[in-house]
Amino acid sequence: MAGLELLSDQGYRLDGRKPSELRKVQARMGIFTRADGSAYIEQGNTKALAVVYGPHEVRGSRSKTLHDRAVINCQYSMATFSTAERKRRPHGDRKSSEMSLHLKQTFEAAILTQLYPRSQIDIYVKILQSDGGNYSACVNAATLAVIDAGIPIRDYVCACSAGFVEDTPLVDLCHAEETGSGTAVALALLPRGGQIALLQMDARLHQDHLDPVMEAAMTACRSLGQVLDGVVRQHLQEVSILTGE
């Protein structure tokens, strides 16, 4: 884009961050009473909500029931007022369906579904305000919500986006960087074992540049993992004070 430098000469991005710097993360768990698990996360200006119901009996078609594990049902949607232009179809369009499928596949890898045969776990994610990194915010919020619901999970699932501008990998892209830089890699990682749950890349990237971008994304995911861990521990402390343990 003419006149919009994604990386300045001094090495600062549009919002003043360094290339490997994450946006400010604020998260809360257990915000809703009706749901079994819920969480809210803010990564910079992106705000995402995740709500988990389950495990419960399979609703709708009984034919979806799996005899040896739980069925995971994910739905991703964006509020109509979450983007600069009003979103006419908040769910049901191709992008939302693709995101829902990715979330389902990510969490099928992380949740110990063998413990709940013939049941269903619903994960609903909603974006209240979108400023890039929608998938990452959803995954991070959903991880916290699943933990809040008490569903056993192999490891935290941490996600982050990464790009490549002027030979420098950037992490945690905001909307302007996502649309402007050409390459956007989304990575979902289970930090303890270093296992990649999901990796997606759109647009062209030279093979030689893939390694530094992946490295940067994995480091960012690990830092996010530590942040999420801190949030969970603090929530547990608050809850145990309230219940008087």
């Binding site: 809703f32 009706r34 709500v51 509020a79 109509t80 983007t83 009003r86 909603k126 305000q129």
Partner: protein, 259 residues
């Protein structure tokens, strides 16, 4: 969980749950408000777009409300197209905007016959614990009072609209209606602000909406068991008192936001 149950049993019959309000949290929306009545959480976002005015009313704009009850707010709602309750709530809000004159549609017109504003008011429930309509009305009112629209002028030569995002002015909210909902049990007991559990056990529900001139804007009693006229009068008086409480809350929040 246990704290929620205790407070709903400890409440007086005429007592509303704790109401909190947070405005302007969504920066991508032109106006926004988040309301919590007890555990019921509702968020309203206002998006303004430009359009040509309707041919039968060239000096008026459009206000399009929509109430969404997504499956995340409660397990009783399934994914898919809007259900009965969501559609009925949307229609209730649309009728209320028309009858209560919250915003004069003429104020939304920029140039008669050529250009006007369309205000999309999207109300979304995030946590459903009864008394949806009251929360929706408060959220809508607070979001409209918080909304700022940019100045639009029509360039005389090109006939195109020019939007100036630096110059923002608030909407002119002429009336401020507030609703109160009641649940009736067997024509005898009337309680205010029912939770989801109380709603499911009730035999009828009533919603009364009043404005600041103590006039009735809406009275909604969709069937259910009968109710005597004097009980109905009590409901209306309670609604008038509730109006003052909520108005004060909205004004306090708006004032602290400006500071």
């Amino acid at each position: 969980e246990q704290f929620g149950t205790l407070s709903s049993y400890g409440r007086e019959l005429g007592e509303f749950r704790a109401t909190t309000l947070n405005i302007g949290s969504i920066s991508t929306a032109d106006g926004s408000a988040l309301v919590k009545i007890g555990n019921t959480t509702v968020i309203c976002g206002i998006k303004a777009e430009l359009a040509t005015p309707p041919t039968d009313a060239p000096n008026k704009g459009y206000i399009v409300p929509n109430v969404d009850l997504p499956p995340l707010c409660s397990s009783r709602f399934r994914p898919g197209p809007p259900g009965e309750q969501a559609q009925a709530a949307s229609q209730f809000i649309a009728d209320l905007i028309d009858s209560a004159n919250i915003i004069q549609r003429e104020d939304l017109c920029i140039e008669s016959g050529k250009l006007s504003w369309v205000l999309y008011c999207d109300i979304m429930c995030l946590d459903y614990d009864g008394n949806l309509l009251d929360a929706c009305v408060i959220a809508l009112l607070a979001a409209l009072e918080n909304a700022q629209l940019p100045e639009v002028t029509i360039n005389k030569e090109t006939e195109l609209a020019e939007v100036n995002p630096q110059k923002l002015h608030p909407l002119n909210v002429t009336k401020h209606p507030v609703g109160s909902s009641f649940a009736v049990f067997d024509n005898t007991i009337v309680i205010v602000d029912p939770t989801a559990e109380e709603e499911s056990l009730s035999t009828a529900t009533i919603t009364v909406v009043t404005d600041e001139d103590e006039r009735l804007c809406a009275l909604h009693k969709p069937g259910g068991s009968g109710l005597s006229a004097e009980k109905l009068q009590d409901c209306i008086s309670r609604a008038v008192t509730r109006h003052r409480e909520v108005r004060k809350l909205i004004e306090e929040v708006l004032k602290s936001k400006q500071q």
